[in-house]
Every structure is written in structure tokens, then in C-alpha cells.
Symmetry: C2
Subunit: 166 residues, 2 copies
């Protein structure tokens, strides 16, 4: 099992998104994701997300908000516990990242990006005034086969058609 | 690294506490703790805590509240990420547990129990209207050497003297 962090850094109505096109054998190849990565030994979630954000973007996060825990279960890779953060207070200058291309994407345009299906669910939760959520996502290959929020199964469609890639 | 859950089940102003006296080579030997244990593969935090509570106590938890994430770092054991829950809605009859003795302890008497020092910190946080917290605790042996709440270092004393074991 794997512990990771993921952060959506927000500025002027945009999220800082990473288009994963540079790494080989990347499970996220060609997908758009937030910034983050694996825990190093002894790190708390906020230490991990601050280190990863600095390494990947050059930005220093100030008090990122811990918003949720996503349990990813898949037939292809080990179970991943992804600690989800949102940050709107940061400093520093944006660098280029060796894992992909960084781009500020308007939140209203997120539906046009190539995202994992389940990402639409937690991106909507980030916009809501829920203090903390636990989301379980089960994938078969690229297909989301089950989703549960705080232990309650969600029913399809997980997201409205107009939020999806056309 | 290890992922675990811990739950404080509450009834009539008491927490259901486990006095860990039955297991051999138990890092918690003679300590009083809540109920919980290690994640099984593919479990979400709420699935793990409900399974562990049922196995250890015979009680079925209904919508336990996910309250915090505790990062335990130690010179003696691997880093542990403990997902902390509180439950006041449950059903079933209390069984005996093979890991220790289960006892309903008044919350006002928790300070008299043999607890890990850091447990006093998160037990106080459970009583406060904070939606979710991340607490990092660093131990050298049995001694708590560092504590940080949501990334901010806490200063000593971590808990008032009258909450400690006399």
C-alpha cells in the first residue's frame, strides 16, 4: 500500500495542473493531475505535500488545507491512500517540472481536460464547504467501477455530462 | 510504513477503552487505547475502523466520524499513519476482546489511565469542534519529543498536569 499527497494550488480562479507527458511508464501518462507524490519516511501529510509542491513547481505552500483522503483500489496497481490538499496561499516563482508541463487552468475548463473519471468527484468536493471527506474509488483498468463517499455508495452518473471531456 | 485506524466509541460520557494486557510483545502493553488496527488490502479508513471495531468489541458502528490523521514517528518502530475516528452511534452487544480488557471509562477519568503522552493531545482535540486535524507525534522510546498540529510545532506542556497520571 502506498501513501501519497495531491494538491490543487489555486490562483485567480485557476488550478495549477500538471500534464503528465514527460515520464516513461507513468500510470498517469497524458492525464492532467494536481501536484504531489509519495511520502518519504517520517513525513506527515502536510510535510509531504509542501516538499512535493516545492520540488515539482518551485512554489512554497503556506498552510495548505487538508481536505480529504482518497482510497484508490485498482486491478492494476497497489492500493493508494491519497491525502488531498488545497492551497491558495503560496510564494515563489513557478519552475518547470520534469514530470510534465505545468499550466494554470481555469476551474471552469477542468471538464475539458483528460482527467481520471474519479477526479471529477473530488474536484467537485473541493468546491463544496465540506470540512473533510473520505472517498473510495475502485478502478478496473481506466474504468471507475465503484465510488463511495464517507462509506456511502455513490450512484452513476458520478458527474454531469457537461463536466466531461467532449 | 503502516496505516491503521483508532476509534473512540462514546456512550453516556464514557469511552470504550481497551486495556492491552493480553498480547505478548505488544508495543502497547499495559497501555489503555481505543479500538482499531491495521488496514487490510483495499480497505478505506471507514471500512477498516468498522471491521476492527466489530472484531474487537462485537459492536457495529454507524457512520463513525473521521476526525484526524496522526503521524507517529519513532526510533523503535516504523512510521504509522493512524486514522482517528469517533463513534457515538452503534449497535450490538459488547464481547470480550482477545487483545485486552474492554472497559467503559468516564471521559473525566481518562487522565488517570496509563496512556501514551501524545494520546492526551488528540483526546482533547476530539472534544473540540475542529472538523479535522493532522497531528504529528515523534517518540524516542516512550518519550514524546516533538508534536506538531497541522504543521505548527506545539510547545510543552502538551497537556495540563491535572490531566496526567498522578
Amino acid at each position: 500500500m502506498l501513501n501519497t499527497t495531491l494538491c490543487y494550488i489555486e490562483k485567480d480562479g485557476c488550478y495549477l495542473m500538471l500534464h503528465r507527458v514527460k515520464k516513461v511508464n507513468d500510470v498517469n501518462h497524458d492525464k492532467w493531475v494536481g501536484v504531489g507524490g509519495k511520502f518519504e519516511d517520517g513525513e506527515s501529510p502536510e510535510e509531504c505535500v509542501c516538499r512535493e509542491a516545492l520540488e515539482e513547481t518551485g512554489l512554497t505552500l503556506h498552510r495548505p488545507a487538508y481536505r480529504g483522503l482518497v482510497t484508490f483500489v485498482s486491478d492494476r496497481w497497489e492500493t493508494e491512500y491519497m491525502h488531498l490538499f488545497h492551497a491558495s496561499d503560496f510564494s515563489g516563482a513557478l519552475l518547470q517540472c520534469d514530470e510534465g508541463n505545468l499550466e494554470w487552468v481555469p476551474k471552469s475548463a477542468m471538464g475539458q481536460l483528460n482527467l481520471w473519471e474519479g477526479d471529477h468527484i473530488f474536484l467537485r468536493l473541493l468546491e463544496q464547504p465540506v470540512p473533510f471527506f473520505s472517498l473510495k474509488l475502485v478502478y478496473r483498468g481506466d474504468e471507475l467501477t465503484h465510488a463511495a463517499l464517507n462509506g456511502e455508495t455513490l450512484s452513476r452518473p458520478y458527474c454531469p455530462k457537461n463536466e466531461r471531456k467532449p
